[in-house]
Amino acid sequence: MRSTRRTSRLAVAGLVISSLVLAACGDDEEDAGGGDSPTSSAAPSESCETSGDAIKLAVNPWTGSAVNAYVAKAVIECNLGTPVEIIEIDENATWVGLDDASIDAVLEVWPSGHAADYEQYITTKGTVVDIGLLGPEAKIGWFVPKSVVDEHPELATWEGFLDPELAKLFATAESGDLGQFTMGDPSYVTYDEQIIANLGLPLKYVVAGSEAALLAAIDQAVADGTPVLMQFWKPHWKHLEVELVEVKLPDVTPECEAAAASGDGSYACDYPVDALYKAASVQLEAKNAPVFNMLSKMQLTTEQQSEIAGYVDRDGMSPAEAAQKWVDENAAVWQAWLA
């Protein structure tokens, strides 16, 4: 009994000593490391002298979001001398971060998915500010593999799906006798159920549940050469890999805009174009006015953004490398943001 106790006392002493040694070593290390927080990704971008409080930019899990943020990081660090920390986070959690200023800005918001957040944080509470359009326009819509349209040209427009025989091409165990319309992540904006009902299409709305499941469903269809009809969007890296064709839905009318706003279930048109915008914490302007101004002015065209995204999705660069390459080659574009 005694000896065990002595042993454990020895162990404690040993641990204390070793942790003291470590702590001593740890201190001089901290100065060299610059207190790099583990939430920030250690970007191997061009090392520029930076000082002051870091600006925290949110990156949501898609390529466009990452390249915007890394372009901004490269420009800010080397021209405004402010360090930028990248925070990889869920797109819905981003708003809570903006709200309490633990995130300073997010550079790509898809308006269709965040109308309620806009209302809650920007309009009502006023803790988040809209700092203008990013530039690129995105589009949600109904997509089929190109082979489907090659074989049945009628299916290039929604009227083609009125034919129960053609719709049946898309039938699965889940949809029974109807054709299956596949929706991915249910948190994305969707009018599909209303469109199907109001246009009287013999389709069944099936929620695959996640973007990953949707992508797997595309692969399945391509592997088997079977048709698949789904909600999808541009830009998305999958378009580089699989040729998808957007099915033409009725044009957006004022009635449809009203239906979308009221949520009365009478929506029967195509999806409106998503003009991507930027949002910042209301405290950012006071925290760092030059950065706030730069982010407000920052704009990319659809072509510019897809060029940088292509470096990542097609050429396999990291977002940081892709952004650096583009910044190096396009000084004229980003210098306008600093003016």
Binding site: P38, Q120, T172, A173, P186, V206
Partner: protein, 663 residues
């Protein structure tokens, strides 16, 4: 066993039998009448049946958003708590960083040596080294930091809670409801509230992990103390020990094995939630999984997932007190005194750290890295190309999926929806009554009625009762539970009777339980098509480990005496299994079934991500659009909890002696 000791005299016995028969008849009569009544009045859930839980939850959430900067709940309580959690994670992380990888590996091994011996030291150290080989070291250490803080919290709260539960039956009942809720309520439901309460980053990640990992600590402490033989307690009392002494000197030490199993389960649970926790903002291994998923890089997602599993294995090996000697082919360590070994251990850790710092060993050298992604991609490709179609006899996963949907899930679901809702309630109450009596019947009926009170949710062609979604989920849950038991029970028996089988199975069980379900979302959808069958498969994979483990554990813990007695009477191994081991292991096995039920319900949310729909999907929408959907998500999540409690109480009732109480 207990029923034998308390056998009443013969004339009382006969009277009791007659009484029971009368009760039985009465019961059948009552339920038949209720069923008829249900058919007459209870077809649809009536409109007035709505407790407006949805509106209430939505209003509370809006309130927290509006007041998160000013109200004392935040400024006095939640914000400091959040700061503390942040501080804790950062400091653990700093310490791990300062140790560098050689130091972390050496420290892991040393702790393993202290708790278990050379075998645990070796296994823990190697697992930790392997983490670095397959996954980025800094991200792994961040995951480890969050997990360590959450696991410590779960133990600090969970073990005392278990002690309380063990000492009072009433407390146990309440605590069980809380634990069931914690284990089954989908994280997505409290995702947004945790964010508003704790901000982004580590604190909500720790909290989510803590909530999910707490139940096993409490459950197994409770179980362990309750299983302390009565004799030991009496011996303690006869020596005049106080209640505290009794707890500390008798009950906790005797319950040690159970509590350690609890620790093991806490670790497994905590690591099962790493990916979800990374939604809150930490750039750790979970984030790698999510990013890979978005790019459809299944191999990368698996590699990060395996990193998570290896971290869990390392912690598990050094925490379970594995005291077995090293395998025979390894050299036996010399028989030095403990103190020498201790000095050597500490010396090794310090040397490792000093070396690492001197040579700036921040990450593992490239020759030690293993590219796990490419071979996994190849394997997944092979599985996807060869198992989906044209498999002899079974036809392939696609055929299985279509069969499950068309011939099993769909008919059950349609039957449940066709039944008047009160008939479903009556039927479940009847099962409850058969299992344990009137009180259970009332309890499980209440669970279902409360689901009826959850209001309506949007659906095709207007709002419809949430009840319909609950029946959708219930049909899938029933199929998943039956499949899981059919697969797990035989495996558990096999593992309980053969050390080799158990050893082979263990890593797979760890893998199935800890490998984030997210990494196999894509292959599951590819193989089974997005839909309810894919959802059932996801549930089954996650739900079988506890039943296998507990069946094996139950068989192994059957005392030798009855087994030897049976053998000496000439029982064949088969007879011994069926008539001695299985009956004596019944309690553990039914606990396993019970855990399987809870696991299936805990996975309903993941099933929704592969197309299962139902309550899981409702709960999921709460995270994505909390400002409009938190209410319906809360209603969906609560309904999952009600289903879980209902099925849990029924399966628990099977695990008790039928005679002890029939109230």
């Amino acid at each position: 066993m207990a029923s034998v000791d308390t056998l009443p005299p013969a004339h009382l016995e006969a009277e009791a039998v007659a009484k029971r028969q009368r009760e039985r008849l009465l019961g059948f009569g009552v339920f038949a009448a209720l069923l008829v009544a249900a058919w007459v009045v209870g077809h649809e859930v009536p409109d007035w049946m709505d407790l407006d839980v949805q509106g209430w939850a939505q209003d509370r959430y809006t309130w927290t958003i509006q007041n998160s900067d000013t109200h004392w709940l935040f400024t006095v309580f939640l914000n400091p708590a959040s700061d503390f959690l942040n501080w804790a994670v950062e400091h653990v992380f700093d310490l791990l960083e300062a140790l560098r990888w050689p130091g972390v590996v050496a420290l892991t091994a040393m702790i393993g040596w202290r708790t278990g011996g050379p075998r645990a030291a070796l296994a823990g150290g190697l697992a930790m080294l392997a983490v670095g080989a397959v996954a980025p070291w800094d991200k792994a250490m961040l995951t480890l930091s969050i997990m360590v803080v959450a696991v410590v919290m779960a133990l600090v709260v969970g073990v005392p809670l278990g002690v309380i539960a063990a000492r009072s039956d009433r407390a146990e009942k309440i605590i069980r409801v809380v634990l069931d809720t914690a284990q089954v309520m989908p994280v997505y439901v409290y995702f947004a509230p945790l964010l508003t309460g704790f901000g982004i980053g580590y604190p909500p990640a720790v909290m989510a992990t803590f909530i999910y990992a707490l139940p096993p600590a409490t459950r197994l402490t409770n179980l362990g103390i309750r299983q302390v033989p009565v004799v030991l307690n009496e011996v303690g009392q006869s020596f005049g020990t106080t209640s505290w002494q009794q707890l500390l000197k008798v009950q906790l030490p005797v319950a040690r094995k159970s509590i350690l199993l609890g620790l093991n389960q806490v670790i497994m649970m905590a690591f099962a939630i790493v990916v979800l926790a990374s939604l809150f903002g930490p750039s750790d291994l979970g984030r790698l999984v999510l990013n890979a998923l978005q790019k459809q890089e299944v191999g990368e997602a698996f590699a990060a997932g395996i990193g998570i599993v290896l971290l869990a294995v390392a912690l598990d090996r050094i925490s379970t007190g594995d005291r077995r000697p090293l395998p025979r082919w390894m050299p036996t360590p010399p028989q030095w005194g403990r103190r020498v070994w201790l000095a050597l251990g500490i010396g090794t850790v310090v040397a490792a750290v000093v070396c690492a710092r001197a040579f700036e060993l921040d990450v593992l050298p490239s020759w030690m890295l293993i590219d796990a992604a490419s071979p996994i991609d190849d394997a997944v490709d092979w599985v996807q190309n060869n198992l989906r179609k044209d498999v002899p006899v079974i036809g392939g996963t696609q055929a299985i999926s279509d069969f499950l949907v068309v011939h099993i899930i769909d008919p059950i679901q349609r039957f449940l929806l066709w039944l008047p809702w009160l008939a479903v309630v009556t039927g479940v109450a009847f099962v409850g009554w058969l299992s344990r009596g009137w009180r259970l019947a009332a309890g499980v009926a209440l669970c279902l009625v409360l689901i009826g009170f959850m209001g309506t949710v949007p659906g095709a062609g207007g709002r419809k009762p949430l009840w319909d979604e609950a029946m959708n989920t219930l049909s899938q849950v029933i199929v998943a539970i039956v499949l899981a038991v059919l697969i797990a029970f035989p495996l558990g028996v096999w593992a309980g009777r053969s050390d080799r089988v158990e050893r082979v199975l263990k890593p797979f069980l760890d893998l199935a339980q800890v490998l984030p379900q997210f990494v196999y979302l894509i292959p599951v959808v590819f193989l089974f098509s997005a839909g309810r069958a894919a959802g059932v498969v996801a549930c089954v994979v996650y739900a079988i480990p506890p039943l296998i483990r507990l069946t094996a554990l139950g068989l192994r813990e059957v005392p030798h005496a009855p087994r030897e007695a049976a053998t000496s009477f000439g029982a064949t191994p088969r007879q011994e299994l069926l008539h001695v081991q299985l009956p004596l292991a019944r309690k553990a096995i039914l606990l396993g079934v019970n855990q399987t039920v809870l696991m299936v319900l805990a996975t309903v949310i993941i099933a929704a991500l592969v197309g299962a729909g139902g309550l899981g999907l409702l709960a999921y929408t709460a995270a994505a659009k909390p400002n409009v959907n938190l209410g319906q998500g809360m209603a969906g999540g609560l309904s999952i909890v009600f289903l879980a409690i209902m099925l849990d109480r029924i399966t628990q009732a099977w695990g008790r002696d039928p005679d002890t109480s029939r109230t």
